[in-house]
Symmetry: C2
Amino acid sequence: MDELDARLLLLLTDEPRLGVLECSRRLGVARGTVQARLDRLVERGVLAGFPPALDLGAMGYGLTAFAVVEIAQGRRAEVCEGLAAIPEVCEVHATTGQGDLFVRMVARSNADLQRVVDHVVDVPHVRRLSTSIALSTPVPPRVRPLLERVKGRPPR
Amino acid sequence: MDELDARLLLLLTDEPRLGVLECSRRLGVARGTVQARLDRLVERGVLAGFPPALDLGAMGYGLTAFAVVEIAQGRRAEVCEGLAAIPEVCEVHATTGQGDLFVRMVARSNADLQRVVDHVVDVPHVRRLSTSIALSTPVPPRVRPLLERVKGRPPR
DNA sequence: CCACGGGCTGGTCAGAGTGCTCACTCTGTT
DNA sequence: AACAGAGTGAGCACTCTGACCAGCCCGTGG
């Protein structure tokens, strides 16, 4: 990860559809260089690909909620499996602190959220569920600042 | 959002680098159709683009932590601004329930997390911070199941 | 001191995909 | 019965891709 890598990723973050050739032009380097950098980033696992970014809101799932889940001791694997089976569950983390699992889920409306929450509490070995609704998202998921830092001061 | 849209998005989720032509072949429809569908999805805001997926772990930020932040009444905007200025803060939501803000942040190590947390509590009007470290991520961020549901039973 | 490997450059090449337009067909609707 | 919307299949010029090449620069190490 040196400055060029960072600038390349930053460029692709802003305009993901750019081809290798266009990137090389904007960065002022040869095409082969960009190609080699991208290959290496993929190889190292830093660049995992270019998945489509879907807006769940536009798809009708306008509601995001977070839940802290307490579960029965030693049942994490089973509970996670049960959670994974619920489509509206978009993300699960095992955490330290109050609660064992941390869940992000989406729903179409408050009523729909009720349904989803019911599904979650119905998962075997789930003891307690504490749900919060996301009212707004002042800082949407981002990586940019981290890249910009790398760009700023040379490399690692 | 009908079945074809869902299948198209699913296909792109699995193999994002596919071109329009290849998609049309795999889906068994004409190229123009795929092109039109994509255009419409973008127009509706469902498909926001193809941002590069970066693996923060591979970039050295192997630690993810969540924090529930309590702030002074009526200072949300300022606090969010302060949080946004911290590069390691990757996401902020305003929530209902215990705590006002919900933050996702990354760090290079436990010691580094300490530093980040210190930055967060230093943001003016932050009253209390309750941090949890993500030990594992049994269900990584995903949208697939939602799409598969649309694919299953015809449309909207 | 010089050879060596790695990384970058700038060029070429054929093959493939892109964006765009067109005329035609098949729906369900008015 | 006519119509708008959507999908089809075809053709076009243009561009990018992936692969290859020789040459250059620089830090390492013999």
